[in-house]
Subunit: 336 residues, 2 copies
């Protein structure tokens, strides 16, 4: 097996986040499910945008955020995702390339426009997301460069993108290519509603041994396993994937791999400003340790430090010097 | 004279700021004049954007920022400015309306696109701006609703927009309308390069008694008066405009009106993150006092508090509750 050209290649939604603070009363008025992610159509996106306060635009997308974290930590990364040939598509492409990530998926002409996620952030820092998938859902299998996928140590996939049909086909094909090249496949479940719709698919992927590293949060774990208790859920999945990472927001995280289980606390944060991207950056920190063969505890600590950075400011792309933070706070044995 | 419908109507550039942190070495490499504002064409904008790190987009524009501050302080405001019929134009229009400001200038079809300002922010918080004027420079005199202009207590104009020909004609006409309706005209000089190009125009406006309230910073004062010393500059202009406001960044500000002169210190800030919009928000605070007939010192203190808020975070639109800040920090006799 040739030396990998990339540490991680990811397939994900190519989204620009449109973020504004709001109070809880506005969520109620708009009938938004606090803390959740909901897909919206053009008309609903218009209604929500009209009701939103002055906003800022910052590139997002779950897997793309994870890559931005990995690139900031010095890993070689590539991204595959579909933007439209419009201004927000340019913004997304600029930001991901400026983060040092290779991104070559051609922009798609015509409608729909580039995906955006309207994010309402309440004073407690909780984010409520409303995603207009736009061009993102039309990522065709033909957009995959199979040689590139085969050349990455880890293929990283986001569950959000499993919902639309074309990207799902593209991701299935990417898994075949990566497995065929002897690479690892990492998967983030993304949101419990995705599991409600596609749980059988995910369980089959796991049962078939196609997932090497699985990231879930508490509600995703419950949806995936049907177990109401966190511990029962962990016990039920732990034997089925080589590496299981289960995050629990302020209550820390658990990883199980090679028969070993490690629990860690969450990294303290002065003030939670905006939780958007917490899971994405946890995955970045964890994988940055994993690719270097770090001990499980070190991988988890890296995840916690990266998640703490992202929730201390608006937006799901890192602002601080992540590599320095990780070096300072994890007593890392890995330098670089 | 009928009761004004608006407190302030402004004519200005309709711009989306594209902001990224950078180090001083990048400014040198790109041959950027630190702290300045430079107009750039499409090719230069492309070069600079390609060299810029991951960015965020936040609505900007000097006069529009001032209105956002005024609206946050509870004043009734309207904005006139030209966006293109594109995604960044939608972003600008959304953000200004969401701030509670009336904005009815129709978007302009076709090229060029909506204006953007590429802002490099160095670790000292200084911003270096590169403005692609795009659609903004094609604001036609026909876009003015003269009844609306006549219905505002203050017409606020930004010097930046004096440079392109069509908006300059529109602004000259707006001054006639406002003066004809017995309203006040406020003018911000914006940047010394504008004065270098149009100083004779500005001096003629002042000599003709068409400017009631003039905002300048130190370098603009020097360009406008030809006096190297700040005190000489103030002395030279003070008698020529009813209200002169001269800001000096960290060294505070001076106002002269009705024979009275007041000097104030700058408001302390924990950390200067990004100075973009400092002058714009100083003007907002000052005018919010002025329209209520507040004493000169109170007007200046309001300006200082608003400027301090804006430089404590990225972006030139207020994030904190400005009205509360002003009430807390100015011992304001004016409530609301």
């Amino acid at each position: 097996m040739p030396q990998p050209r990339y540490d991680v290649i990811a397939i994900g939604n190519a989204i620009v986040d449109v973020m504004a603070p709001c109070d809880d009363a506005l969520l109620e008025e708009l009938e938004l499910r606090k803390g959740g992610m909901t897909l919206v159509d053009t008309a609903r996106a218009r209604t929500l945008y009209d009701a939103m306060g002055p906003a800022r635009e910052i590139s997002g997308g779950s897997a793309a955020n994870t890559l931005a974290g990995l690139a900031a930590l010095g890993l070689e990364c590539a991204f595959i995702g579909q933007v439209a040939d419009d201004q927000l598509g340019e913004v997304f492409a600029h930001d991901i390339r400026a983060a040092g990530i290779d991104f070559d998926t051609p922009a798609r002409a015509g409608d729909p426009p580039t995906a955006r996620c309207l994010i309402f952030v309440t004073p407690d820092g909780e984010r409520t997301m409303n995603t207009f998938l736009g061009a993102s859902q039309f990522l065709p299998p033909a957009a995959l460069d199979e040689d590139t996928i085969a050349s990455a140590a880890i293929l990283y996939l986001e569950g959000y993108l499993w919902d639309p049909e074309e990207p799902r086909r593209a991701m299935r094909r990417a898994i075949e290519v990566a497995r065929g090249a002897g690479r690892q496949v990492a998967f983030t479940a993304s949101e419990s509603f995705v599991i409600e719709r596609h749980g059988d698919d995910f369980r089959a992927l796991i049962a078939d041994g196609l997932i090497d590293i699985l990231f879930v949060n508490e509600s995703e774990l419950a949806s995936l396993t049907g177990k109401a208790s966190f511990e029962d859920g962990v016990a039920s999945l732990a034997g089925q994937v080589p590496v299981l990472v289960a995050t629990r927001s302020a209550r820390g995280a658990v990883a199980v791999a090679g028969g070993e289980r490690v629990d860690i606390a969450a990294e303290p944060v002065d003030r939670v400003v905006d939780t958007t991207g917490a899971g994405d950056l946890f995955a970045a920190g964890f994988l940055s340790g994993h690719v270097s063969g770090a001990p499980l505890r070190e991988c988890l600590r890296r995840g916690a430090v990266c998640a703490a950075e992202i929730i201390s400011h608006y937006g799901a792309r890192p602002e601080a010097d992540l590599a320095r933070l990780v070096a300072e706070r994890t007593d890392s044995l890995l330098q670089g």
